[in-house]
Symmetry: C2
Subunit: 211 residues, 2 copies
DNA sequence: TGGTTAGATGAAGGAATCTTCAGGTTTGGA
DNA sequence: TCCAAACCTGAAGATTCCTTCATCTAACCA
């Protein structure tokens, strides 16, 4: 097993012409394609380059190594989900806790399950590439967004928003992962149950309710 | 990246003398040691054998390949957690839903977090070894155990036990994973919040409550 | 149009591991 | 004590991939 050095993920060269920008996109896209079609084990830099219609050398002009390439793909995917969460949190400012919960579940699942295959494939490379670190960085943003949203709730909560936000994000990402890895479980019913769980949790946190 | 063939995980040879039984244990133990000390990337069969005090050849006498070795280690770990869940489910038969939820959270987290380092290390190898498949097999047992427990609840639930069990197990394993991968989040408070969430969910499922 | 820089190429070097197997050692029973 | 079965050994074969770099082509600008 080759050492996947975890050095800088900075591109070696920044695309300055439109041509190279297209090349970078093609490489990134090809990486996902190969991941889906061939699987992580057969994902070689040569094959990715080939699928992208360029030579390996070109690939290495923009990514210092295989690891960095994979990380970049992962980072982009996670960012999309984080963006969805952020959007929801913006929209729900000042709303009632239950509405927040429901919207959060909807938004998160929609983003995460939009392309289950890709999500699953990316989880599988995560462990080779310090995916945890990336997930944590990106996740921290989402967690904070949720916290801010909760603080703006029309009804105050019995615990600090940070704790509740951590729980919510933990449940979402956890269940999300479970679903992605067991696609047979994905059904409209699951979303409803998750909403039910999140909402009843938030409801139980209303100050007037004794815990 | 070598192809980790996913062939049979049957040992090539069954230990017939006490000597070899000890060897197998040593190899399994060494695998975890190496995983913890060196990390997944540096985990080579030669190194494992060395740490176990035997030669590589011996290792290959009991495990057809590296992949099978890793899978066996993973399977054992997951089984321990499943056992803990089973035990809880037995104990809580006929109890009130909230008691079940609380006990489940406690039991699951205790088992999963007993050795966080090892749990984390094993998650990291999971994706190389079809860990998903193993997790699903072992998880199915737990899920069914929870279902049976819920069916025996002293108060009936508004949804079928299977759905609720799937949700509960999903949340537990999902959050469990999140915690294992972010050890800084592990705190007594998290357990309480998780109990709160699970209990309020189960409470919301009581038939007398409108959903 | 000519020069300079950005971008692309791909054969080949180099580094690692996994896995085998022919042969040596230990164990346990007759 | 002696033998057959069970165990163990570890050098070396066989593969596979990552990454580099000298060289070539395309694009841009004066």
């Amino acid at each position: 097993m080759p050492t996947l050095s975890k050095q800088t993920l900075n591109p070696r060269k920044l695309p300055k012409q439109t041509r190279s920008a297209a090349t970078v996109s093609a490489i990134l896209e090809a990486t996902i394609q190969v991941l889906l079609r061939e699987g992580k084990e057969k994902l070689t830099t040569t094959l990715v380059a080939q699928r992208a219609g360029v030579s390996v050398g070109t690939l290495y002009q923009y990514f210092p190594n295989k690891s960095a390439l994979l990380r970049e793909v992962l980072r982009r995917h996670l960012s999309e989900v984080a963006e969805a969460v952020n959007r929801v949190c913006q929209e729900q400012r000042g709303a009632r806790p239950e509405a927040m919960g429901k919207a959060l579940v909807r938004g998160f699942l929609a983003a995460k399950l939009r392309d289950v295959k890709t999500s699953a494939a990316l989880y599988s490379v995560g462990s080779d590439v310090d995916g945890m670190k990336i997930a944590r960085q990106v996740g921290a943003r989402s967690s904070r967004a949720i916290e801010t949203m909760l603080e703006s709730a029309s009804e105050p909560l019995a615990v600090d928003a940070g704790t509740a936000a951590t729980m919510l994000y933990g449940v979402l990402s956890g269940v999300g992962r479970t679903l992605v890895e067991s696609p047979e479980r994905v059904s409209p019913g699951v979303r409803e149950e998750l909403e039910q769980m999140v909402c009843s949790y938030l409801r139980s946190l209303r100050v007037k309710n004794a815990r």
